[in-house]
């Protein structure tokens, strides 16, 4: 049959296919390079900032959870090489402790903001540099931002005016608010409750509390007239640790 393809034809076909593949790869490489230059976040700075701020905040959230509401514990107990911030403390014997962290939620928010401030600002610097590098014109103003610890989440409110323009087109931004899923609020509220009860009764009946509120797990370690509380939100595994010294007894007398 004249229509049959011979051996040489087959080779030709293979060569053509190979060329097509190579061409495709080159084209794909070309387009890939194009994607690399036009990152999605450059198209949507909000997404970039959202992710960046989330990454900036999370370490601070972890630290305030670990250090009883502070980035760096102020008055703390050392137990097994770890520092536990006192939320309620008295240096005296027999006496109930003094609740040293009223407005704990506010303090936690301030601590997070202070600790993450530079990183959050860096997010915008990074965005600007990146956009500049890609030929965007960016004009911005100062940043004002805060953290709100809310039930089930952390809201980061960023007020920053930013205008991005290129080739006659521009887009303006005034705020970059983002959320993090966290139960820091719930943990802070329980820590408050522990401190309040310890300051009044020298005790927090965590066992009964756990039965009533099973979504939380509470460990207590009694150590040298101190109590270390570890509060865990079961679902997320988030844990807040702190110490209390209340109604201490003298050693032998």
């Amino acid at each position: 049959m004249g229509g049959e393809v011979g051996g040489k034809g087959q080779v030709t076909i293979f060569i053509i296919i190979a060329l097509l593949i190579i061409t495709g790869v080159i084209i794909a490489f070309f387009f890939y390079g194009k994607f690399d230059i036009l990152k999605p976040e450059q198209k949507n700075p909000r997404q970039f900032i959202d992710k960046c701020i989330g990454d900036a905040i999370m370490p601070s959230v972890g630290m305030v959870l670990e250090n009883g509401g502070r980035i760096t514990p102020a008055n703390y107990l050392v137990y097994k090489d770890k520092e536990y911030n006192y939320l309620c403390y008295t240096p005296e014997l027999y006496k109930t402790c003094t609740n040293t962290y009223p407005r704990l939620k506010g303090i936690v928010e301030e601590e997070i903001k202070q600790d993450a401030d530079e990183r959050v600002k860096n997010c915008f610097d990074e965005l600007k540099l990146d956009l500049d590098a890609k030929g965007y014109s960016v004009s911005d103003e100062g940043i004002d931002w805060n953290v709100e610890v809310l039930p089930g989440k952390i809201r980061i409110n960023v007020n920053k005016a930013m205008e991005i323009s290129k080739e006659g087109n521009s887009e303006s931004f005034n705020e970059f608010n983002s959320y993090l899923v966290s139960h820091l609020y719930e943990l802070v509220m329980i820590a408050r409750e522990v401190a309040n009860q310890e300051s009044q009764y020298c005790n927090f009946e965590y066992n009964g509390f756990m039965i009533l509120y099973p979504e939380f797990k509470i460990y207590r370690i009694d150590y040298d007239n101190n109590k270390i509380y570890k509060i865990i939100y079961r679902k997320s595994g988030e844990e807040m640790d702190f110490a209390v010294r209340s109604c201490a007894f003298p050693g032998g007398f």
Binding site: A74, Y213, P250, G252
Partner: protein, 1326 residues
């Protein structure tokens, strides 16, 4: 003077010092028995708000303060550091007990003086969230949640729902169903299993199918059944999971392929294993965490559990401890050994265990048994046993404290929590009660702890005096306190000792015991008793500490469910009276007082042997044997005379002992002193120069015969008895051998028989306890009997008689035949039996209770680390061995480990500073040091001074007056605990006051032993007491009560005691005059054993109705009677007692009427004003009467007293009983009655009327009113305000409109958001 005698005297003195050491501590230092310990010294420098270390509101020095320093002000009195309630205005939360300055440093906060937050806004209620959850929070917090869009507007916040109901509302509001959220590309529906509320948020709620699952076939969703399982937030159960990720029904492996099980929601009761917790079930996920076999959804992988399907299972939540299974949430107590009744062992601790979801959490109660674990089996709603345990404060301090007062001790003690009466009843005059803690406290092994321990253990240091009387037929019989000589005394006293704390013979928690008691004349511990003590280290299963009668305290405190405050405050007590009374039975009599001219004195209980005086130049006193150490060993040989002329010893015996060597028929003892010249030396009479011990020449000498010598004796204060001379009857024939004759044989036989008879008689008299007369008659009679028999026997031997009867009738001596002698002797023997009643001195039996010390060594330290359920602590560790110590302290990784043992005995050095501080000096010697006065001379008797030694490692040190082994040494160098510094007060006695004229040297032999048992050699302390006549008058060391002391208003007399530094007689007068002219003699205790560390006491009762101003003078050396050598004070001690001008009175108590409140609990501030009385006023209160009163937490002693009830009082009627007292002991009582009315209702609108376009309303109480035209559901704060204040309000209206009115009262109480005030919906119709 014999050194032994001196030592005896000094030993007594030392015992006295030791006995009164406790009293000294109390009296001299004016410190409480159980000191309040502060973790940090206040230093009186100032209150700091923010310390450098991050702490807040602490008293500290300025350099430790970061900010807010107030010099000279204590934080307790600082306004900025006062505790307040702090509201977070942003969130609506209220925090209790916040330092005021911390609450006022931020505009977002508001402070309330009520630190316990009994303020209206702080009331907790139930906040209903939009998703069906609830929160038990404040209304402000609920508003905060609302602002964040979480709150169900229709229900919002309810203040009348309890926390349990609120949580239950959340659980039961969770009616789930399938919620269609959209349409998938394939046309099937997208679905979520949620509550209706949640469905509203997801899709508006229109497509909610209650009770259906997304896998229901009819719904045609994208969700399909799977074999996967999951846990749900806040739920116990394991659920199947559909392909959309929804939780379906409870996991049941048998229903994986059961289609109907995937159609609709099955309730718990319809699911598998209902009624069982399903813990560790592989097939059923119907977990109930609180059930007996409880379970909770957990990952099977993480727990290596094989489950039939899915990845989750009901992980067992119950726990097993010591063979008992506990449900989740149950708590129970664990102990180291037997508890209660004072049996808690050293190093032991109470532990609380909690079963927390299958894990046992350990909660150690406060160490040193400052807390005890109490347990109670409760019935829960399923009527099954449910254990609840709690660590609560151990009230041991109060028990010890109560011993300070004697009145109604039993009643007070038994009524007190954790206290019990320990009764000692070992005799008529040795019975007493001590209030002891049921759970005795532990003592720290550091110096502070041990010093306090010494004081407390000392409560069980007692001396029992066993009294005897002579029996008519001889011998002594016990008339009082005989049980003190039995084993009962030792064991019962040790039980008392143990019950006071870590004292006495006691075991640690691993069963190793040490004996920390000293026994004097008491029986030792029997093995079975020690075994019983050791067995206390094994806990008794099922035995728990008593919860105690806390109700009365709660009642007295008026506390509503709040914990009782720790009892740490009430520590102070006058234990001194008890201590002083501890020796009420002590009888210090018995000192030797005889002064006969041969040997005088009696050796009686506690006495000192007499002195030997002999004028015979040929005799010297040779120490023979120590007569006694402490308390007198009766009838011991105390010495002998060596006659250098004869080369013979003459033996001396003390009272009651018959002469062992008597001569012929005439050799008898007399009185308390017996002596005899050697008669049996075998030396011919002619060559024997008998020596009369009295110094008198022999009253007769028979030449050529054996000289029987002169026998004389003098009892204590009794004339000498001279029996005269009994001579042989045979003429002397110095140069001619004496042929044996019946007479001679009889005579020799008589002598031998007489001697033997006398010996037997003496021994018999002694065994019968005959008096001196009886002893004389017995020994003489027996001597005569023996002599008669001997004479007869001699006559027979020499052939003078052919038969015994013949011999007995021969006139051998002076025409007297043996029969007559026999008869006379027999009569004397019989007569002697009527002269019983020898000396029967009392016997003092002493039990000294000392703080418990760990066994030497460090071999068992690691045992502290082995039990994770009973974590180690410093106290536990150190109780295992003196060489054990905690390493990695303060890191949480503490381990009990052995300290470094250098393998050497401790090195001892003198503490020179201590000696120099007492204005004395010292010099080192080759074996120790010597203490001298500043001039290098001897020390004055009765001058108190201190000396001490230091060791290069922790050691116990002891000393004695002679070289003994460490364990045999009688005296602790300071205390018995391990320390580097060992010091003690010391006073050289003037033994002249004890009947001894001693001035001389004294050497103490000390030894120290380290924690590993390495013992030093002897370390000597040399000193001497000054010679010479005493020319200084006695010094009055102190008086109680002291000058200017206040006296009770009603008192008509005052007991007074003064202490002098040497035995003295004291007098007092209302005028300052010479001692001799003073009219009133005081009662002085001047015996050698009466001496205390404070000196010798003289007491009297001063009538106060005649004078409150007295002068006291004393005169020393009372034993000199009227001698001019005595010295009287030239100046008086003036004591001016001040009787209070009026008795303490309670002038005012507030509150005393009605208190209106709008909170469930109301803080009440109780204020009491007192007047009159002394300078220090203190008050107590009780809600239940005057029996169980509680000290005000206000100890400044002024006349304004305040007690805050910050826990809050419930509405109701109250009577509070008040008792105030001053330092004179006077008390005043009164009570106050008041009521608390709860007004938590919002104002009612009682009248509405219109005046033109203005609408007016009248409320039933002062109010602030607002209105809205929309509905009742509006924010009060954002609504339109009405005009007017008080109860009348008005606003402008428009015709035809309806107005919704809300009014808030003065406390801010207003209707709930969705409600209007009662009568507050009005229409304006013109």
């Amino acid at each position: 003077m014999d050194k032994r005698v001196i030592e005896s005297g000094i030993e007594i003195f030392l015992l006295v010092l030791a006995s009164f050491a406790f009293a000294y501590i109390i009296y001299e230092n004016d410190k409480p028995l159980i000191p309040l310990v502060k973790a940090q010294s206040t230093g009186q420098v100032g209150c700091c708000q923010q310390l450098i270390n991050g702490a807040v509101c602490s008293d500290t020095s300025q350099d430790q303060c970061a900010s807010g320093f107030s010099g000279g002000v204590l934080c307790s009195g600082s306004s900025s550091c006062s505790k307040v309630c702090c509201e977070d205005l942003n969130v609506g939360t209220f925090d209790k007990n916040v330092p005021k300055y911390l609450c006022e440093d931020n505009a977002a906060q508001k402070s309330y003086p009520n630190a316990a937050c009994n303020v209206p806004g702080a009331k907790l209620g139930c906040c209903f969230f939009a998703n069906g959850d609830t929160g038990f929070i404040t209304s402000g917090q609920c508003d905060f949640e609302k602002r964040n869009g979480r709150v169900n507007e229709s229900m919002a916040w309810r203040g009348d729902v309890s926390e349990v109901l609120c949580v239950a509302s959340s659980l039961y509001s969770d009616i789930r169903g399938a919620c269609i959220t959209g349409i998938a590309e394939d046309g099937r529906k997208e679905c979520k299993v949620v509550t209706r509320e949640e469905c509203v948020g997801l899709s508006g709620g229109a497509n909610f199918y209650a009770g259906a699952l997304c896998t229901a076939e009819a719904l045609n969703t994208t969700c399909e059944k799977t074999s996967e399982t999951t846990c749900a937030n806040g739920k116990d159960e394991v659920y199947f999971k559909d392909s959309c990720g929804n939780s379906a029904n409870i996991y049941d492996s048998s229903k994986l392929n059961n289609n109907s099980y995937w159609e609709s929601v099955y309730s718990k009761s319809e699911s598998c294993g209902y009624g069982n917790g399903n813990g560790n079930s592989s097939s059923c996920g119907n977990c109930v965490r609180t059930a007996t076999n409880g379970g909770l959804c957990s990952s099977a992988d993480e727990n290596n559990f094989n489950v039939d399907g899915g990845d989750f299972y009901c992980k067992k939540t119950s726990c097993t401890y010591d063979g008992t299974t506990y449900k989740n949430g149950e708590s129970w107590c664990g102990y180291d050994g037997v508890i209660d009744s004072g049996d808690d062992v050293v190093g032991s601790r109470h532990f609380r265990y909690i079963c927390s979801e299958g894990e046992i959490q350990v909660e150690p109660c406060a160490d040193f048994r400052n807390q005890i674990c109490v347990q109670q089996d409760r019935l829960n709603d399923t009527s099954t046993s449910y254990n609840t345990a709690v660590c609560r404060t151990n009230n041991w301090r109060k028990c010890i404290d109560l011993n300070g007062g004697k009145e109604n001790l039993t009643a007070k003690c038994t009524a007190e929590l954790d206290c019990e009466i320990t009764k000692i009843n070992l005799g008529k005059s040795f019975k007493f009660d001590v209030c002891t803690p049921r759970y005795p406290e532990g003592f720290a092994f550091n110096a502070n702890g041990q010093e306090s321990a010494t004081s407390i253990c000392g409560l069980a240091t007692r001396t029992c005096v066993v009294l005897y009387k002579a029996k008519p037929m001889g011998g002594c019989e016990i008339v009082e306190n005989g049980d003190c000589l039995e084993a009962r005394f030792t064991t019962e006293m040790n039980d008392l000792c143990r019950s006071l704390g870590d004292c006495g013979l006691e075991a640690n928690y691993i069963g190793d015991y040490t004996k920390n008691v000293k026994l004097s004349k008491a029986k030792g511990f029997a093995k079975d008793y020690i075994a019983k003590v050791v067995a206390l280290a094994v806990p008794t299963k099922g035995k728990y500490a008593d919860i105690g009668k806390v109700e009365k305290y709660i009642e007295a405190a008026g506390v509503n469910g709040a914990d009782l405050p720790g009892s740490g405050g009430a520590l102070l007590g006058e234990v001194s009276s008890l201590i002083y009374s501890s020796d009420v039975n002590a009888d210090n009599s018995g000192s030797g007082t005889g002064t006969g001219n041969v040997i005088s004195g009696e050796v009686v209980g506690g006495g000192v042997t007499g002195m030997l005086v002999t004028s015979d130049p040929g005799t010297t006193f040779v120490p023979y044997k120590q007569a006694l150490s402490t308390g007198g060993v009766e009838q011991q040989v105390i010495g002998s005379l060596f006659n250098s002329e004869t080369g013979t010893f003459m033996r001396f015996v003390s009272a009651g002992e018959s002469l062992p060597f008597s001569a012929g028929s005439g050799a008898v003892s007399a009185g308390s002193t017996v002596s005899v010249a050697s008669a049996l030396s075998g030396t011919p009479a002619s060559s024997v120069a008998s020596t009369a011990l009295s110094g008198m020449p022999a009253t007769s000498t028979v030449t050529g015969a054996i000289d029987l010598g002169t026998i004389s004796g003098t009892g204590a204060g009794t004339p000498s008895i001279n029996l005269g001379t009994i001579s042989g009857s045979t003429p002397a024939a110095a140069t001619k051998p004496i042929a044996p004759t019946p007479g001679m044989g009889g005579f020799i036989g008589g002598v031998i028989g007489g001697v033997l008879g006398n010996m037997i008689g003496s021994a018999l008299a002694k065994s019968l306890g005959l008096s001196s007369t009886g002893s004389f008659l017995m020994s003489t009679g027996m001597g005569l009997v023996g002599s008669a028999l001997g004479t007869a026997a001699g006559a027979m031997v020499t052939g003078g008689a052919s038969s015994f009867a013949q011999a007995m009738s021969m006139n051998i001596i002076l025409g007297i035949n043996p029969t007559m002698i026999l008869i006379v002797g027999a009569i004397m023997v019989i007569a002697s039996l009527f002269f019983g009643g020898g000396e029967c001195p009392p016997k003092k039996v002493t039990f000294t209770c000392e703080p418990w010390q760990p066994p030497a060594g460090a071999g068992k330290c690691s045992m502290c680390n082995n039990d994770p359920e009973k974590p180690c602590s410093e106290y536990r560790c150190q109780s295992l061995g003196a060489g054990c110590e905690i390493v990695n302290k303060g890191t949480g990784n503490e381990k009990c480990d052995a300290a470094v043992d250098d393998g050497k005995a401790p090195e001892i050095k003198v503490d020179g500073n201590l000696i120099m501080a007492g204005n004395n000096t010292y010099e080192n010697t080759s074996t120790g040091f010597k203490v001298t006065n500043q001039n290098g001379g001897c020390l004055n008797a009765f001058d108190m001074f201190a000396f001490g030694i230091n060791t290069n490692e922790l050691s116990q040190c002891k000393f004695d007056l002679s070289e003994k082994t460490f364990d045999e040494m009688d005296f602790n160098f300071g205390s018995n605990y391990y320390s580097n510094n060992h010091s003690m007060p010391f006073m050289l006695p003037n033994l002249e006051g004890c009947g001894l004229n001693w001035t001389g040297d004294l050497t103490l032999y000390a030894k120290c032993r380290d924690r590993f048992g390495h013992e030093s050699g002897y370390y000597t302390v040399d000193m001497c007491v000054s010679n010479g006549r005493d020319t200084k008058p006695a010094m009055i060391n102190g008086a109680y009560p002291g000058n200017a002391s206040l006296i009770s208003f009603n008192k008509t007399s005052q007991d007074l005691i003064v202490f002098t530094n040497e035995p003295s007689e004291c007098r007092y007068s209302s005028q300052n005059k010479d001692y001799e002219l003073m009219e009133n003699q005081m009662q002085c205790e001047n015996g050698c054993e009466d001496q205390t560390v404070l000196g010798f006491g003289c007491s009297s009762t001063i009538p106060l109705n005649t004078t409150n101003n007295i002068y006291i003078r004393c005169k020393d050396q009372p034993w000199l009677n009227e001698s001019n050598d005595r010295n009287a004070n030239q100046e008086s001690l003036n004591l001016n007692f001040r009787k209070v001008s009026s008795k303490i009175a309670i002038d005012e108590i507030t509150p005393d009427n009605e208190i209106e409140t709008n909170t469930e609990l109301t803080n009440v501030s109780l204020n009491v004003q007192t007047s009159g009385g002394g300078n220090i006023h203190l008050c107590k209160y009780s809600f239940s009467g005057y029996d169980n009163m509680i000290d005000f937490n206000d100890f400044d002693g002024n006349k304004n007293h305040n007690q805050e009830f910050n826990g809050g009082l419930l509405p109701g009627d109250y009577r509070i009983y008040i008792e105030c007292y001053d330092e004179t002991g006077d008390i005043a009582r009164n009570s106050t009655v008041f009521s608390i009315f709860l007004d938590d209702a919002s104002p009612l609108i009682t009248r509405v009327y219109r005046q033109g376009s203005s609408m007016s309303i009248i409320t039933d109480e002062y109010s602030n009113c607002v209105y809205s035209t929309k509905s009742c559901n509006y924010d009060f704060d954002n609504a339109s305000e009405m005009y007017g204040i008080g109860t009348e309000h008005s606003f402008e209206t428009e015709a035809g409109k309806r107005y919704y009115i809300k009014c808030a009262d003065a406390y801010g109480t207003k209707p709930y958001r969705q409600s209007c005030s009662f009568g507050g919906i009005v229409s304006s119709v013109y």
